[in-house]
């Protein structure tokens, strides 16, 4: 009681944003200390989606864990699959056939677009713009249709396998994918016309929520958020894995580090992903889609760290094997975990409405943080 009175005198108010709050994109709880509308302190409370995936991994074979990696990031399941199978292949020294690598790049980049579309839709929804949501989900639907063709699922794909992918493309996939590319190329300028130049939108994001380069690095921020802070770093180009060296694409970088920069970087990334998908479709090699590996896969003793460029930053799997069919320890490093840890520093002293804009622009996803 006394403490409450003291707080009242200081005009401090503690507000629980979440865990059920429309703009926290899942079950994130932000304990915000406010003075009027000014944020004095913000403490993210996570763990509501903790499913102990790393513990479960210790009791599953390498194949059995693949469906659970979908749940690490349900907006970009393909990329989460990829990080896992990539780590297993690196540790067991498995050569993936070229066609499988190309198929992975195609679905991985399409999933990046789908994931960025979810970000675009929900970010603008947070800022009060409802219409863009309908545009983004209409176009994302086309990607989900493509994924349904290749693996039958629309959200949790489990498409990748250790050594390759689960099935080849059906005949109708390539024309449908080209159709999507053509359609989406036309839609992107429309997105910009609808939102990017809008004054109300600009007022909310330009020069808001700065993330300086050094602060971003100190907090382990990766992915589009890091590139928007002026660091020219993309694992697909700088530490290439899979078939990425065979494609030409640009890595968008912005020096500004505000919400608008993060918006711009992601918008350009979608265009670049389209280019990669197009090149992969043009150059798609024939051959096998999965390496010959036994169902009872035994991985030699050792450890490795495989990292990949997921839509939300560096997604890596640190795998320790003591031999046998199950990992001894698996650590999943995800982009959002580190991206959220810098959030309290960024919002200190800003207005509550800026906090919403920043959290939207950073593109957190909670299952990836809690795992």
């Amino acid at each position: 009681m006394e403490k409450n009175l003291e707080q009242l005198e200081k005009h401090e108010l503690i507000v629980n944003m979440g865990p059920q709050h429309p703009s926290t994109h899942g079950v994130l709880r932000l304990v915000v200390t406010l003075d009027g509308e000014r944020v004095l302190n913000c403490r993210p409370v996570v763990g509501y989606l903790h499913r102990a995936l790393e513990k479960i991994a210790e009791n599953r074979t390498y194949h059995q864990f693949i469906p659970l990696t979908d749940r690490v990031d349900y907006c970009a399941s393909m990329n989460a699959n990829w990080a896992w199978v990539g780590a297993v292949e690196k540790l067991a020294d498995i050569q993936v056939p070229p066609r499988a690598e190309y198929l992975r790049v195609i679905v991985g980049e399409l999933n990046r677009i789908a994931s960025h579309l979810v970000w675009w839709a929900t970010f603008l929804l947070d800022l009060g713009a409802v219409t863009p949501f309908n545009y983004a989900f209409r176009d994302r639907e086309m990607i989900l249709d493509l994924f349904e063709m290749v693996c039958g699922a629309r959200l949790l794909y489990s498409y990748m396998r250790v050594g390759g992918v689960s099935r080849d493309l059906p005949d109708e996939f390539i024309p449908a994918a080209r159709n999507f590319i053509k359609h989406f190329r036309k839609m992107l300028p429309e997105y910009h016309a609808l939102v990017s130049g809008n004054v109300i939108f600009q007022e909310r994001v330009v020069n808001k929520g700065f993330l300086p380069e050094q602060l971003a690095l100190d907090y382990g921020v990766t992915g589009p958020n890091l590139r928007a802070s002026g660091v020219d770093w993309d694992l697909r180009r700088d530490e290439p894995y899979s078939a990425y060296p065979q494609f030409e694409f640009k890595v968008p970088v912005s020096e500004k580090g505000d919400c608008m920069a993060r918006y711009d970087v992601r918008m350009i990334e979608m265009e670049e992903s389209l280019k990669i998908v197009e090149q992969a479709l043009n150059k798609l090699p024939g051959g096998k889609i999965i390496a010959d590996i036994p169902l009872k896969l035994e991985v030699p003793k050792g450890e490795t760290y495989f990292r990949s460029e997921a839509p939300r930053g560096e997604m890596g799997v640190y795998l320790v094997s003591e031999g046998g069919q199950k990992p001894y320890r698996a650590k999943i490093r995800t982009g959002s975990f580190s991206n959220l840890s810098v959030f309290p520093v960024m919002v200190k002293g800003l207005l509550l409405q800026d906090l919403v804009a920043i959290s939207g622009s950073m593109d957190f996803i909670l299952p990836e943080i809690d795992r």
Partner: protein
């Protein structure tokens, strides 16, 4: 820089410390836990090493002891380093890196929460995944809970057809 060059630089800077390579198929470098903050500070601030990013840190429960793993990388010089340290399992204590690499703050909280390793001088050492009043540390290999039921062990997978009957 190759790992050997990085190691040579570390050995020159810290002559009193034994840097031991780990066994086959792993690129970790073992060092005593007490020296980690000083080494990390050197890794970060030395212009040639320039380890600007700490990718992650985590722990492994080897039953006889805990092993802590720190993964650093440099975006500038494009090299990696994995540091490892072993701590006693009975009273695991390690100095924090949160003051040098702030990203370690949350990673260390996770290790504290799930493994029970204590990080001295950590600014906010509280549970991050589990509820605050949770007892025990779930990622330990000997963790027991009434709802945790071990998988049946047998010679191979049990194969059932769509009716649920087990095949011979």
């Amino acid at each position: 820089m190759k790992r050997d060059e990085i190691l040579a630089k570390l050995a020159a800077k810290f002559p009193q410390v034994v840097f031991r390579l780990s066994q086959e198929n792993s690129d970790g470098v073992y060092l005593p836990s007490g020296i980690i903050p000083q080494v990390a500070e050197f890794l970060k601030n030395d212009p040639e090493l320039a380890f600007d990013l700490m990718n992650y840190m985590t722990a492994i429960d080897y039953i006889s002891e805990f092993e802590l793993v720190y993964h650093f990388s440099s975006l500038l010089a494009k090299h990696h380093l994995v540091l490892k340290t072993q701590v006693d399992r009975k009273s695991p204590q390690v100095p924090t890196l949160a003051l040098i690499y702030p990203t370690a703050d949350w990673f260390e909280r996770e290790v504290y929460d799930l493994f029970g390793v204590e990080f001295t001088d950590h600014p906010d050492l509280t549970r991050i995944m589990m509820p605050d009043d949770w007892a025990g540390h779930p990622m330990r290999k000997d963790y027991a809970h009434e709802n945790l039921i071990p998988l049946p062990t047998g010679s191979g997978p049990v194969i059932a057809d769509h009716t649920g009957h087990k095949a011979d």
